[in-house]
Assembly symmetry: C2
Homo-oligomer: 223 residues x 2
């Protein structure tokens, strides 16, 4: 049986029910831990499912934050210092990652409270998560206020990337499954993935082919 819900039905939903529902229907999401530090040296770590690719050249990522939520310390640290890290999450520590969403006071570091270790390298200001399979250091470029609902879109430029060399394929594709990165749906559902296939660059009147891992297949060059 099919359910049809219109905007009025969504409006009538209990607040928690609606939050779980709407957060689910955008589909599977990127899962990451965002590491920051304020100017006194206090660190913060928060789990996010709102990271989005904005462009490859320059390499820009966007992070949507809610200033009235547990995201608020992340936002204030990025605003104050201009730096943050994005760290992929694997099955070995996803429960610790989820625990960072509890409302810890500002003077408690989620690194300590959640048993995760800060990892500093190459003189980058913000802390990475030790053991994360893919770590990215970003510099703040722009904050965009979304007036529709009071959220803030933080745009960062990729300054550093760390990952296992073997995950990088000959054409630049990164095999996230080999790294153990997982995905999230809704507010709290964690999923491992299983590759169906990579597909060749789509062209008009040309049959798609399957791209084996390790291939040099030229890819879409729209960045």
């Amino acid at each position: 049986m099919k359910t049809h819900l219109n905007s009025n039905d969504l409006q009538q939903m209990d607040q928690r029910f609606r939050a779980a529902f709407i957060n689910s229907i955008t589909g599977f999401k990127s899962l990451c831990l965002v590491g920051t530090k304020d100017n006194t040296g206090a660190t913060n770590l928060a789990v996010f499912s709102s990271l989005l690719h904005f462009g490859a050249n320059p390499a820009i990522m966007g992070l949507l934050v809610r200033p009235d939520s547990v995201d608020r310390h992340t936002l204030s640290n990025i605003s104050e210092t201009g730096f943050f890290t994005v760290n992929h999450v694997s099955e070995t520590f996803y429960q610790l990652a989820h625990q960072t969403s509890a409302r810890y006071p500002k003077d408690v570091s989620e690194f300590d409270a959640c048993n995760l270790s800060a990892d500093y390298k190459d003189n980058f200001f913000a802390p990475y998560v030790l053991g994360s399979p893919l770590q990215i250091g970003l510099s703040l470029q722009q904050k965009i206020s979304i007036e529709l609902n009071g959220t803030i879109l933080v745009l960062g430029k990729v300054e550093h990337v760390y990952l296992e060399s073997a995950a990088i394929q000959q054409d630049g594709f990164v095999d996230l499954e080999s790294l153990g990165s997982i995905t999230v749906s809704g507010l709290d559902s964690y999923h491992r993935t299983q590759r169906i296939n990579r597909l060749s660059y789509a062209k008009v009147n040309q049959k798609l082919t399957i791209v084996p891992l390790g291939s040099k297949e030229p890819q879409n060059f729209e960045e």
Copy 2:
């Protein structure tokens, strides 16, 4: 062995290699087909991996589009008419979805070219994808130009949602795996998922528990 790449290394990469690399490192992404129609009745369908949850009340989703890419017809139709649909993709038709990324001319509908059928209902202007397990009708609220790289963020309000009733859990969470929705990484890698667990709402000094499907566990009410 670990690889470290800095912003200079990224700059030096071959353009296609960089596009594949940077598109990969944001993690697993939402996969959807976006359906639109222009004022002459010509339909368009395009695969996207840039859908982001912006808020639950009002229910807002953002779609990042590249005006110089195959996304351009989607953008012009949304601008012209104010409506679009988001349709989840399942393993049964992911190859057809991928094929919509070929550069078809404006007078060719990807519905026809890629063997997908338009589905109209409840007097909504834009076409859904027949057979998609989760269909969303949205109205344009705002377009935000991202000057850093010339992309445009399209914000839409959810007007209609259609899905199999059994996928909606008692607390509002939607079981995307039961619907068959899949995820994408990089530019062209498609993945099914396997749930690890749902976790309880995180609180300071309280142990997380696993939330079985069908549970009434109260969830995070930050929308």
